[in-house]
Every structure is written in structure tokens, then in C-alpha cells.
Symmetry: C2
Subunit: 414 residues, 2 copies
């Protein structure tokens, strides 16, 4: 058995105990939160090592910022873990039930998924966030973080493991893979004997690699090529406000928009308003021919590839369309299926858009920035699924469960 | 674009129309049923070709039987399709909904999965069954059946496509891959741009190959290494009846049992009763040391590998265990996670078993043969999922749907 296979076997055994751990899980979560605060200095010391290595290896300032754990961020982590403890426990909830004509009772109940693998990049706070959510839903978790944060991840996971053990649950409920070579990620993707699901959290490259290479079922998360369509019947002031918010509030996140589609009948009214707002944040517009006729040639010409791109930056593609059908067809072709919005005052346009656009979150007259587990009231979020299997959109602890049928009888045979 | 990529693109376009087709789907299903009956002779003629080829290629009589479509089986197919039409349409059902503090309404609704790929083996009736279920849930389907049934599958799918078109829906809602080489299956497994899910239906070898090689999300179905555990507190007569039924009613199906586990305190009472019943159908027992001490050495000695095997035959492995914990640990190690049963009169034993055994269907005092979409009241079944992601246990049309969030506002920004 390799080291990672051994971790898989230990995780499966821990998962068996966690699946019936009930309220002990909350005790463990609160113990973890306490331990994170008590051991903040240890975490900061380990984190300083990572920051130093990062600077020596030429990480960009924004990556160094993501990596850095101050006292306040550690307190934030602990607060997040405590909040997860307060959420209702999904395990054991009855989903449906009935009595068959032969007297058998069939009950479908929520159960944990089992063993969850999480592959993530440079943010060490994911270690605590993700582990807490997995634990709450009764799952064991195997974490494999990026090499940039390895010292921080080691410190955080050791603190969590000790806290769990003190709370009377197996410390192997949370395990960290300390080998950060590509090999360890590859091996985790083959671990179908022990892993029930693998969730990649990070950039498009990581996610693509996991989806293409994993033998374990994957939940695809987070790539957001999102759109706002300004309908023929739009309030163009509202459209400009929504576009400005959805592009510039936080351009680096997946629910920010990357392309706007403008109905030709309102283009000459809407586009100048939109541009005026975007100019205050120096957003670069990349427009189609008609966009440039209306706004002038200081708008960069959009290439086909721009419509496929998740810029994650102060860049926005723009296309003038003939009809709502063209807008929907454009979204169907180029979108990653994350979040899309229509701005309209028309009842039919709104219904056409919400019924025909096939994305995880479809908005009417609202910023796409609301696609978020916290905003949607899930309590906390493990990621935003852009696939259609198992879960779609923001995923909370409910999405970290499976189900089983329990059938009770008194000797029935078929 | 390859032929299969073109099929993918056409399926995606058909799926867009099907997703909002409402009651037209039922019209199409009834038209399919009518057309299957009307064109029964065409199907039988094509089927005769397959049977002839099969005999020339030395297919076993049981495979020839599976392949054969008489008038009655075609009528059965048509009846099945009509029954699917009568089921309630899951698309558009509201799963949950709430209003956020900022006034946004968030509604989670059921939507079709989109494009479903199905890879199956020699049974041509799967073509109609599977296509009907996919269509009902608003999905386009790409079918790839085995070469043994290619003429039958071609005839059935052409009849269905024409019927769908006459009913006003795109004929590409159902497509059959006529290239039955290994290449076409491999290409389908890579078609992640167009396919939302791939469902293999067939033997363990096919399913393993698809799970290991597919880039498209897979639902794993049907491998059943199922167990009956006879508890210390069992009614041993009931145990013998349940074991006899679960093993011999239809040994070739996935919900038949393959291993029995007997508590040591009842072994000498239960085993002779069990053997006496099984002997009437010449079931070969493969037992552990204690089993053979009780029943004698004409019981074959069980090897470790027997406990991993889905015999699908009149063979049953048997092990005497020290405790319910040992039984649960055995199941955890060897089971495929399909269906397991405890026979007991004890309340605690029943609860321990149902809460700790991690399989799709967990039974108390009942034959495992009931794990079936029809028996559970799902109306019809696309397969029995043995994975934990998305669906677990018998899958009906509800399991062929995904969800999306619709968020309505009046200008909210974040």
C-alpha cells in the first residue's frame, strides 16, 4: 500500500464512525475553532515560512496576499468553523418514504457521501473551511493543497486533528497530503477504492486537469464566464448599475461578468451609460462592430476568443444582438453555465430567459454577484458547481450528502 | 467534426427544445408506442438478422434469448413507453424557494440534465426503454448498443425518430451510434463538450471500463454483490425463506444475493434449514471452516475471492461470524454497495444494521429482490446506481434531472 492508499483506508474507517457521530461532530467543530485561536501563533509562524518561500520564489503580491494569514484571518477561520457547527445536521433527514402494497416501508434518508478528496491551490484558509463542512456532513476528508501553503496547511491540519481526537472522534477524519508533487494529485485522482468524490477548488487549469484525469467522481466548480443581457425592454439605468456592480465589485471572482449582450434597439441609449460608469474604474471594453460604431474606436475590437474568456480582470466583452433568441444562443455557445442575467421590464422576455438559459443561476434584474452559498442562505459554501450531476450552483453541507433506502418488512419475498 | 461530435451538437440543440417541450413529450411517447406496434414486422425482420448472425458467431442460447424480440416483447416495449408517458413530468417542479432579506426571490427548479449518453450491451429493448425515460425528463439521448443487436437497434431507433418528428419534436432527440467498434465507445466517453452524463448498462467489465476512461460524468449502475446477515436473534425459518428467494428467484440479476453471513449462535440451527431449501434448486454452497463443520464437507470450501464475486448463478458463499460488527465489517469490505439484508427480531440489531451498513438499499427481514424502480414505485427505472453521487439505488425519471436557481429582483446589486 502506498502512503496515499493508507490514508484512503484510514479515511474510510473514520467515515464509518463519523456517519453515526451525531452531535459529537459539533463538539469537534467547536474544539477545532478553540484550537485555531489558541494556536494562532503556531499557524502564523508556519505561515511566515510560506510567505518567505513565496517571496523568494517570486510569487506576485496578490498571491502573497492570498497566502497570508494574520490574526484576523485566523479568527475569521475559527468563526467560520463555529458557524458550521450551528447549522442543522442533514444526516438522517428523511427525504421521502412510503408503504408498498405488500406492507414494506421504504424510507429514503440522507447519509454522508463518505470520503471526500479536495484538491486546492494557494489559500490555506480552505483547509479549515472545507474540512469543517465535510466533517459537519459526516464525511472524512483528504486534503491536498498547493505547495505554496504547505507549512501553513500542515500546522492548521495538525491543530484540527488533535482537536478532533480530544473531542472523541477519529483524528483521521481530516488528513493532509504533505507530498505536494504532481504525483500525489494524480494518485488521489485514481483512488476510487476509497474516495467517493473529488472536488477541485482553484483555477480553470486545475479543474480541467482533475475532470479529465480523475477516475473518482468529480464535482466541477467555479469557472464563471457570466453574462448580462440588456433586453429591448430594459430599464437602461438599471442595466448600467447592474453591469457596473457585476463587473467591478470584485472582478477576480467567478460570479463576476465577462460579456454583456445588448439588444440593438436599446444599444445607442444603453451603451454610453454603461461605458460612462465602467470608465470610472478603467474597465477595458472589447466590442463588436456595432458597439464600436456607437462608442467609437477607442473601444478595442472583440475577437471570437474574447467571448470564451473568463478575464477575471477589469475587461468586459460586449456584443450587440438582434434579438433575445440571439442572446440566448450566444450564452448557450460561450457560457460556462455559471450565472447569467437579463435586464428587462417585459414579462415574456423574463420568462423566456429564465426557462431557456441553461446555467446554474439565472437572474432577472439583479447582479450576478449574488451567486454565493452565503447570499443564498446555505450557511457556508464548499464551492459553486457548474456541472449538472449531483449539485448545481452554490453547494452547502446538504450537497455533501448522499442517500440510502431503508426497507423494513416482516418476511416479505418476491 | 467527427460523426459522433456532430451527433453531440445535434443532441445539444434538440435538448434545448426538449427542455421546454411540456406535454409534447407525452404526445411523442405515445406516437413512439403506436409506431413500435405498427412496425413490429420491420423490427422482427431486423431482429432475425441479428439472431442469425449471433448463431453464426456462436452466441450462447441465453444471449440469443436476450437478443430475441418476438411480437410479445415488442408489445411489452410499447406498453413500457406508454407507461412512461403517464408519469408526472418532473421538469419545472419547484424544489425549494425563499425570499432573501434584500427582496430577491430565489427558486430552485428541476430542469433536464441535457444530453445523456447510454452505452449498453446485447438487449435491444433497452433502446426503447432508455430513450423513453430520457425523453420524458426532457433530455436528448445518444445510444450506443452492442454489435450483436445492431440491426434491431437501428430499426427501433429509426421508428422512434420518425414518430418523434411527426409529433413535432426534433428527431435528433434520439440518436443511435451505428459504429459498434470500440472506438465509438471511447469517443463517446470523451465527448464532454456535449454530453452531460454517461450511463453504462451491462456487465461489470463494461461498467468498469466506462468509469475508468470517461471524461464525462458517469453514473455507475448495477453491480450487485449483495448479502443477507442472519442475526443472533433471527427467526431462522424466515431467514431460510428470504435467502432462498433472494438467491434463486432470479440468480442472474443484480439484486440477487451472493454471500450469506450467519451469527455463530444460530449457525447450527439455521444452516441446515437454509441448505435444505437451497438443495431443491441445486445451489452450490461455498462455506467457511465452521460452515463445513456444521454442514459437512460436501460444502465446497470458500476462498477469499469468493466473497468478492458476483456469481450471478446458483452459487452462494457462506461465512459464520462472531458478531453483528463482524458482519457489518465484512459487508463494508466486500460489498459493491447495492443491497444488504439483516434477518432479526431484535430492535437494536435492526437499527445498528440500517444505520451502519453503507449500501444503496438496506433491508430488515425482507428479500433483497425488491431493489427495483418498479417495486419502489418509481414507475420505470433507468438503472440502479451503486455510486453515491447524484443518485443512489433505483433511478427513475427524477434522477434524470438536474436543477437550476432562478433569482428575481428589481435592480439589486451587491
Amino acid at each position: 500500500m502506498t502512503v496515499i492508499e493508507q490514508m484512503g483506508a484510514k479515511a474510510k474507517e473514520a467515515a464509518r464512525i463519523l456517519s453515526v457521530a451525531g452531535n459529537k461532530k459539533n463538539k469537534a467543530l467547536n474544539a477545532i475553532a478553540d484550537a485555531l485561536i489558541e494556536n494562532a501563533d503556531t499557524i502564523i509562524k508556519a505561515n511566515n515560512l510560506d510567505i518567505e518561500n513565496g517571496k523568494n520564489n517570486g510569487l506576485t503580491p496578490s498571491l502573497i496576499d492570498r497566502l497570508t494569514l494574520g490574526k484576523d484571518r485566523i479568527e475569521g477561520m475559527a468563526y467560520g468553523v463555529r458557524k458550521v457547527a450551528t447549522l442543522p445536521d442533514p444526516v438522517g433527514n428523511v427525504i421521502s418514504g412510503n408503504t408498498l402494497p405488500n406492507g414494506l416501508t421504504v424510507t429514503k434518508v440522507k447519509v454522508p457521501l463518505g470520503v471526500i478528496g479536495i484538491i486546492f491551490e494557494a489559500r490555506p484558509n480552505v483547509t479549515a473551511d472545507a474540512a469543517a463542512l465535510c466533517l459537519k456532513a459526516g464525511n472524512a476528508v483528504i486534503l491536498r493543497g498547493g505547495k505554496e501553503a504547505i507549512n501553513s496547511n500542515k500546522a492548521i491540519s495538525e491543530i484540527m486533528r488533535n482537536a478532533i481526537e480530544k473531542a472523541g472522534l477519529p483524528k483521521d477524519s481530516i488528513q493532509l497530503i504533505t507530498d505536494t508533487s504532481r504525483n500525489s494529485a494524480t494518485e488521489l485522482m485514481q483512488l476510487s477504492e476509497y474516495l467517493d468524490v473529488l472536488i477541485p477548488r482553484g483555477g480553470a487549469g486545475l479543474i480541467k486537469a482533475v475532470v479529465e484525469n480523475s477516475k473518482v467522481p468529480v464535482i466541477e466548480t467555479g469557472v464563471g464566464n457570466c453574462h448580462v443581457y440588456v433586453d429591448k425592454y430594459a430599464d437602461t439605468d438599471m442595466a448600467a448599475d447592474i453591469i457596473f456592480n457585476a463587473k467591478t465589485d470584485r472582478p477576480s471572482v467567478c460570479n463576476a461578468i465577462e460579456t454583456i449582450l445588448i439588444h440593438k434597439d436599446v444599444a445607442s441609449e444603453a451603451l454610453p451609460k454603461i461605458k460612462e460608469k465602467l470608465d470610472t474604474k478603467n474597465v477595458q471594453l472589447r466590442g463588436c462592430k456595432i458597439t464600436r460604431e456607437i462608442l467609437g474606436n477607442d473601444v478595442v475590437e472583440a475577437e471570437e476568443s474574447d467571448y470564451y474568456t473568463e478575464f477575471l480582470d477589469y475587461i468586459l466583452a460586449c456584443k450587440v444582438v438582434e434579438s433575445i433568441d440571439e442572446a440566448i444562443a450566444h450564452i448557450s455557445k460561450y457560457s460556462s453555465g455559471h450565472s447569467e442575467c437579463i435586464v428587462t421590464k417585459d414579462y415574456n422576455s423574463a420568462n423566456t430567459f429564465t426557462s431557456q438559459v441553461d446555467s446554474a443561476a439565472v437572474y432577472v434584474n439583479t447582479s450576478t454577484r449574488f451567486t454565493d452559498g452565503g447570499e443564498f442562505g446555505l450557511g457556508a459554501e464548499i464551492g459553486i458547481s457548474t456541472q449538472k450531476l449531483h449539485a448545481r450552483g452554490p453547494m452547502g453541507i446538504n450537497e455533501l450528502t448522499s442517500s440510502k433506502f431503508i426497507i423494513e418488512g416482516n418476511g416479505q419475498i418476491r
